[in-house]
């Protein structure tokens, strides 16, 4: 049996507790998966199996739900997730150029996160801050009125974290 590291054990305990709360209740799969992803950062196969077993839902159905919703990820995500808003308002304010500048700076493309890079860059639909377009979303934080000139400092600060 593989020896489990402490944080991993903690995560599994948290998952166990979360699943106990949902067990036997109808319509809780999405909520359970959201909580699992919060605990692990993504949804590895072993977690999906655990969820399926505990909630007595076929694994195929769990997978089908996970693949349907863009919020869920089955692969580990980069330490810093940058999302460039390509909604109409941001687009009009030059979000596309901003995206290219950002990719140049990080050496990655949308969706592709270079394995060793601490940054992943994706695009998103309107995040509801059109008044401050163009927007770059980093984790839960929104950064408004973004310009190419502001990018290097922003990345530097993230790297320091």
């Amino acid at each position: 049996m593989a020896v489990k590291t402490d944080p991993e054990q903690k995560q599994e305990q948290r998952l166990e507790r979360a699943l106990r709360k949902y067990k036997g209740k109808p319509g809780v799969l999405i909520a359970a998966l959201q909580e699992a992803q919060e605990i692990f950062g993504y949804l590895p196969r072993k977690v999906l199996i655990r969820v399926a077993n505990k909630l007595t839902i076929p694994l195929s159905e769990v997978y089908s739900v996970v693949s349907f919703y863009s919020f869920f990820s089955t692969v580990p995500t980069a330490r810093h997730r940058l999302e460039v808003c390509l909604g109409t308002a941001c687009y009009v304010q030059g979000a596309e150029t901003l995206l290219r500048d950002l990719q140049d700076l990080c050496g990655t493309g949308p969706g592709k996160s270079a394995a060793e890079s601490p940054f992943s860059i994706t695009t998103t639909r309107c995040v509801g801050a059109c008044g401050a377009a163009p927007i770059v979303k980093i984790g839960e934080e929104l950064h408004g009125e973004m310009t190419a000139e502001k990018l290097p400092r922003l990345l530097e600060e993230l790297e320091k974290q």
Binding site: P26, V28, L29, T88, C126, G131, A132, G144
Partner: protein, 443 residues
């Protein structure tokens, strides 16, 4: 001015004479650093030893996001704009301590160079009819503030003096149509849900708002969640439902947070739960978050998602009002639709129909964005022309360029060329050349 607007204006007369600071915490202001502004404000108040006496509250979007980060100082109602943390310290020293308004931080009309101190003086707000947004950015999202402004008075009135049928009748005569895009008459939908056989029924608030450029619902939930909750409880009473769900986009963590707090506060005041206001009526609410799928804004897909499965749309009929969540009759309404309900019950359908065109009464909230001077949340009577929104409220296009085209949101939105911009917006005109824009993204 319609009587409803006048009545609301009277309610606004503030009994308070004390200083109170409202920092805008809406998304655009947050993305421009309003948190740092608030920290500087609190820090300076502390340093000057007056932190105890002057409350600092974070409110939802004040309205004109192009002037963010923004701060309102009561009791004068002075609005300061485009603040840096250092400016916040200046305001504490000069305005709060020395009693001198800090003129350089006020908004100056770019055309007349006139200094505008209060919201009411700015064309952006003056041109609007803020009913649904009446509390947004003006009071905090806390229930105590909401109660001060006749919050939950409509619920009390409905429970104490109206039968469910009378409530539905009032909503029906108001002519209110769904603001979620379909434009279905709300009263009729409520009647369908009431008449559908079943011992268990549900009310769902659709807060999945997925249209690009649309952030009206988010701002209502962040700025005034209790108005939506009050609308839902009234809907529960009218249709005979005892449970409700607010289905919010996962991308709206702040809205989720504010709704959670609001639900807890309402439960504590016995406005949610068993035996509400001791009338024997019981109703409770839960929040569910989406997981990033545009189609879940469509009502049958949303219900699939609430079942915990893929958000696949189902063919209609049967409609959710007949067979919805867990196969039970389910009333599903949009955030803004529900936020209109307390107004209609409290002030009466007759007042409501004074606004907007016949057949499509009331107001509509729009999110104004793109190449206009003032961007943000705008509420106008339905039937208002796009040109009026862009020029009189939005202040026109930077550099006074000519207006070429605009895009309006929603499943029935579309592009508007200049020639069509003088036609009115309604929720029903969709089949006609001037398209509906019941969903209000505009960019």
């Amino acid at each position: 001015m319609s009587t409803l607007v006048k009545e609301l204006a009277r309610e606004r007369v503030r009994p308070e004479t004390d200083h109170r600071l409202l920092v805008c915490g809406g998304i655009p202001c947050r993305s421009k650093g309003c948190r740092e502004v608030k920290e500087a404000l609190c820090d300076e108040l502390q340093k000057r030893g007056i932190a105890g006496g002057i409350p600092v509250e974070v409110v939802g979007c004040i309205g004109d996001c192009s002037l963010g980060p923004a701060l309102i100082v009561y009791p004068e109602g002075i609005i300061y704009q485009k603040l840096a943390p250092e400016d916040a310290r200046t305001i504490v020293r000069e305005h709060l301590i020395e009693g001198r308004i800090v003129e350089p931080l006020l908004h100056r009309d770019p055309r007349s160079s006139e200094i505008l101190r209060q919201r009411e003086a700015m064309p952006f707000y003056r041109g609007q009819t803020r009913l649904v947004l009446r509390n947004c950015g003006v009071i905090s999202a806390h229930i105590d503030d909401y109660l001060k402004y006749r919050g939950y008075a409509a619920l009390a009135l409905a429970l104490a003096e109206m039968s469910p049928q009378e409530v539905i009748g009032e909503v029906r005569s108001s002519g209110l149509r769904g603001r979620g895009g379909g434009g279905f008459p709300t009263g009729r939908k409520w009647a369908l849900a009431r008449e559908a056989p079943g011992d268990e029924k549900f009310v769902i608030c659709n807060a999945d708002e997925g249209d690009p450029g649309a952030f009206m619902d988010r701002n209502i939930l962040e700025g005034d969640p209790h108005s939506v909750i009050e609308g839902m409880i009234i809907a529960g009473y009218a249709t005979g439902a005892a449970r409700g769900y607010i289905y919010v986009r996962a991308e709206y963590p702040m809205a989720v947070h504010r709704c959670r707090e609001a639900i807890t506060q309402a439960r504590r005041k016995k406005l949610l739960g068993e035996n509400i206001l001791e009338t024997g009526f019981s109703f409770d609410l839960e929040i569910r978050t989406g997981a990033g799928a545009f189609v879940c804004g469509e009502e049958t897909a949303l219900i699939s998602s609430l079942h915990g499965t893929r958000g696949d749309p189902e063919p209609r009929p049967p409609f959710p009002a007949q067979k919805g969540l867990w196969g039970k009759p389910t009333l599903i309404n949009n955030v803004e639709t529900l936020a209109n309900i307390p107004l209609i019950i409290l002030h009466g359908a007759a007042r409501f129909t004074e606004l907007g065109p016949k057949g499509s009464p009331g107001t509509k909230v729009f999110a104004l964005a793109g190449k206009v001077r003032h961007t943000g949340l705008v509420e106008v009577p339905l039937g208002t022309t796009l040109r009026r929104v862009i020029f009189d409220i939005g202040g026109g296009i930077p550099g006074d360029k000519e207006f070429k085209a605009a895009q309006t949101g929603g499943p029935r939105g579309g592009a508007w060329a200049r020639s069509r911009s003088t036609g009115p917006w309604t929720t029903t005109a969709c089949a006609k050349p001037a398209r509906s824009s019941a969903r209000g993204g505009s960019s």
